[in-house]
């Protein structure tokens, strides 16, 4: 069973508000991923880190989204100005090898 911890489990924000969620990867896993899962079960890769460095990120995360994985602190994903289309389940995964182990997700609802 995965030991990836994500908080909060549920987040409700108004449009234009900031939304921040956190992830503690499994101990010893150097790579962390963030994905967005929408209500149609479509997954979108957002960003990944190896140790504290960004490896890949998509364009949307370069604008309203920001993320970091500081040493000895939880990783975080923040949406600077939430939009209705950001409503989704945000999944954090960590990896030591090829397998990615997922947390329970943070369900963001933007009203």
């Amino acid at each position: 069973n995965s030991k990836v911890i994500q908080t909060p489990r549920y987040l409700v924000k108004g449009q234009g508000q900031k939304a921040k969620m956190r992830c503690i990867p499994e101990k010893g896993h150097p790579v962390v991923f963030w994905y967005q899962q929408n209500k149609n079960n479509e997954f979108k890769f957002l960003i990944n880190f190896q140790n504290q460095e960004v490896l890949q990120q998509i364009d949307m995360t370069e604008k309203r989204f920001s993320a970091e994985c500081p040493s000895n602190s939880p990783c975080s994903l923040e949406i600077q100005s939430s939009e209705a289309g950001d409503s989704a389940l945000y999944l954090c995964a960590s990896s030591l090898s090829y397998e990615q182990y997922f947390g329970p997700g943070t369900r963001l609802t933007v009203l």
């Binding site: 069973n1 995965s2 990836v4 994500q6 790579v31 991923f33 994905y35 149609n40 079960n41 479509e42 997954f43 890769f45 990944n48 190896q50 490896l55 890949q56 999944l91 995964a93 990896s95 030591l96 090898s97 090829y98 397998e99 990615q100 182990y101 997922f102 947390g103 329970p104 997700g105």
Partner: protein, 115 residues
Amino acid sequence: TQTVSQSDAHVTVFEGDSVELRCNYSYGGSIYLSWYIQHHGHGLQFLLKYYSGNPVVQGVNGFEAEFSKSDSSFHLRKASVHWSDSAVYFCAVSATGANTGKLTFGHGTILRVHP
């Protein structure tokens, strides 16, 4: 660019039946394939993986999958399902060569197991 197709959006069976959930992929290079299960309101739970060797791989809870390069497939099977297997199943692929590869997911297959 990898793509994943799960042709069955819904599969309904009775407890004790066997089931096969289909996954086809397209990618020109070496590939890593995996299956995940998602129960309602939860995150993704890893079931099994393949990237080399024996094309039939065993996973948790009696699941297995078979890789076929000729068919570009990685179908998931279980010989005898339980009602608790009701969930959404996702097939995922990524390029091998580095453990930093993002996963590309199919749209999922909803499995309903009637008691």
